[in-house]
């Protein structure tokens, strides 16, 4: 008797709620990710320009950029979709990760800058600085720079969220201070004296780990690495969020005080998840910068962080591949739309957000999955 109960519970526990659906959707997503990136790479390398199957380098880079945006969207979905914490400042972590990578790339320029100074980046020469500031030390060493990609945004996210969640700042108040955070960082990075290149930011990169950033093979490698990061982080996040930890997180989203009375220290859970999410955003930024070739304070703009939220809402929050889908679709639309009517893009984005909020509260994926579910319900 007890055994029968147990086994029926066990099988149930493996397929909880949307578990089946999301893992099926997740498998489709992973398969598509592999196929598309491989096809694009093959199309670029094996077919000569002019062939119908040729994929030009511009497209490769664009795809890599979209995938790093997808990773950023996933970061926002983890905190917003699963835990209900609307961060309107994830662009800050993205940009900080990007700056750390940019600093490494700047150091790789060496004496190939306009001023030909082997010790200092061009903008420092321009500012008449005589030596490298302390916070630039070590960035010519790739592993150190990668560590900083994680460490700086991670520490910032930890301190920020710890302070906010300990004092039980929630809801719209939290969203507002995340906007303030990214805005403050933007103002700081705009200042030349900060030592991060002021409003020009960091650019004119030459190579990464000795590979020419302009070459097709480097670009394909960057695309593949971005896709791999997206896939691995997806699997890791899916593992974490489908564990009991994920159920605690969703319970916090629905009724935080009840979770406290059950004995979970919800602040700790939220801080942990926020830092995890910020780290993903930082990795996304670090992958983005070598592909687009520039990082400037504009990436901290409050509007950028809001845009990410729109991607997630469009794709469908609460499912990781929904965020990915949203990021890809909206950015694809943006690329084409801004080509035709650049001034109207913000209006289109706003309309999209309002439309999705009203008509598709669970986004595109929500629409698909509810259709799937009603099919499954039929005998």
């Amino acid at each position: 008797m007890a055994n029968a109960i147990n086994s029926s519970f066990l099988s149930m526990n493996n397929t909880t709620r949307e578990g089946m659906l999301s893992s099926r959707g997740g498998n489709v997503f992973l398969a598509l990710l592999v196929v598309v990136t491989l096809l694009a790479s093959v199309g670029n390398q094996l077919f000569p320009a002019g062939s119908a199957l040729h994929v030009d380098t511009y497209t490769i880079t664009l795809l890599g950029k979209y995938l790093s945006f997808a990773l950023l969207a996933m970061a926002v979905d983890i905190i917003w979709g699963y835990c209900g914490i609307l961060s309107l400042g994830h662009g800050a972590f993205f940009a900080l990760g990007g700056y750390a990578m940019g600093m490494y790339l700047m150091r790789q320029i060496g004496d190939r800058g306009v001023y030909g100074n082997p010790d200092l980046p061009d903008f420092m020469v321009f500012l008449n600085w005589s030596e490298l500031p302390w916070f630039w030390q070590g960035f010519d060493f790739f592993p150190f720079a990668m560590l900083m990609v994680l460490l700086i945004p991670g520490i910032l996210a930890f301190i920020f969220s710890w302070l906010a969640f300990r004092s039980r700042v929630t809801g719209v108040y939290f969203s507002i201070i995340t906007q303030a955070l990214t805005y403050a960082l933007m103002l700081a990075f705009f200042r030349n004296e900060m030592g991060f290149g002021g409003n020009n930011g960091l650019t004119d990169f030459k190579d990464i780990l000795g590979f020419d950033l302009q070459s097709d093979t480097t670009r394909i490698c960057l695309l593949l690495i971005t896709a791999a990061c997206l896939g691995v982080i997806y699997l890791l996040s899916q593992f974490i969020l489908s564990s009991k930890f994920g159920r605690v997180i969703e319970a916090i989203r629905d009724s935080e005080s009840r979770v406290r009375f059950v004995g979970f220290k919800t602040e700790n859970y939220k801080v942990w998840l926020f830092v995890y999410s910020a780290l993903i955003a930082a990795i996304a930024g670090a992958l983005y910068v070598p592909q687009v070739g520039i990082i400037n304070p504009g990436e901290f703009a409050p509007l950028n962080s809001i845009e990410v939220v729109v991607w997630v809402a469009v794709g469908g929050r609460g499912l990781l591949y929904g965020a990915v889908l949203g990021a890809l679709l909206v950015n694809f639309a943006k690329t084409h739309f801004t080509g035709i009517l650049p001034e109207a893009w913000l209006f289109a984005l706003g309309a999209l957000f309002v439309g999705v909020t009203i008509f598709l509260p669970r986004g595109i994926v929500g629409l698909l999955s509810s259709r799937n579910k009603s099919m499954e319900d039929k005998p």
Partner: protein, 278 residues
Amino acid sequence: MQPFSHLRNFINKDRVFDFLVPEKSINIDTSHNVLLYVEGLTVSFDGFKALNDLNLYINDGELRCLIGANGAGKTTLMDVITGKTRPNSGTAYFGQTHNLLTKTEAEIANLGIGRKFQKPTVFENHTVFENLELALRMNKAILTSIFYRMNSEHLDRIAEILDLVNLKQHARQMAGALSHGQKQWLEIAMLLVSEPRLLLVDEPVAGMTPQETEHTAELLTSLAGEHTVVVVEHDMAFVRSIAKKVTVLHQGSVLAEGNMDDIQNNPNVIEVYLGESH
């Protein structure tokens, strides 16, 4: 996540290395046979005293009923004991050593004080089973949660409780889809799987049928002894059926305390509380 399941099994120490699990036994000093000490408690909301110099002592293993008109301060008292509301003055101790007023809600829950709310509060977007999984008495740390896998001991515990509250056939259903009475039961079940030392039960039979009420009365009586139970209830028949000792609250203070007969014959009580309903 198939690729991770081995890793998970391995890292989940309480499956692989039983001896590595720290036996977190919380020491609650009840050498004077009192489990809960509440003294001089005052809570005021904008000058209005919801609790006014309230004193209450609950013995270890006792089943105590709290009665009192609406607004007497019963729920507020539970809010203070569970860390939700901080009082303006007074003390609340769990056993002789644990000062409840310095602890957070989660710490108090982990000390072994469980609560059923007046308005049923379950996790509506989680299944009945998951609600119980969350409430299970176990380590609630982050890493433990990430690598947790339901073991047979926990499964048996949940199955047993589901049986007890007649929710087994609803185990996979979303808690939000349950009826009001079933939510009450689920919340009681959550309380039971958390194996608390002290149960604070706020109006458990509201919205229940007479049979269900009877079932609840049996359940609560059977819990007393091993657990300590404090029940808030309006239903006087229900109170009479379970309680040996009753405390009457009135305007935030204790008006009377004693067995049901004493209470019913107490002139003060007749005047302010029972008087109204007769």
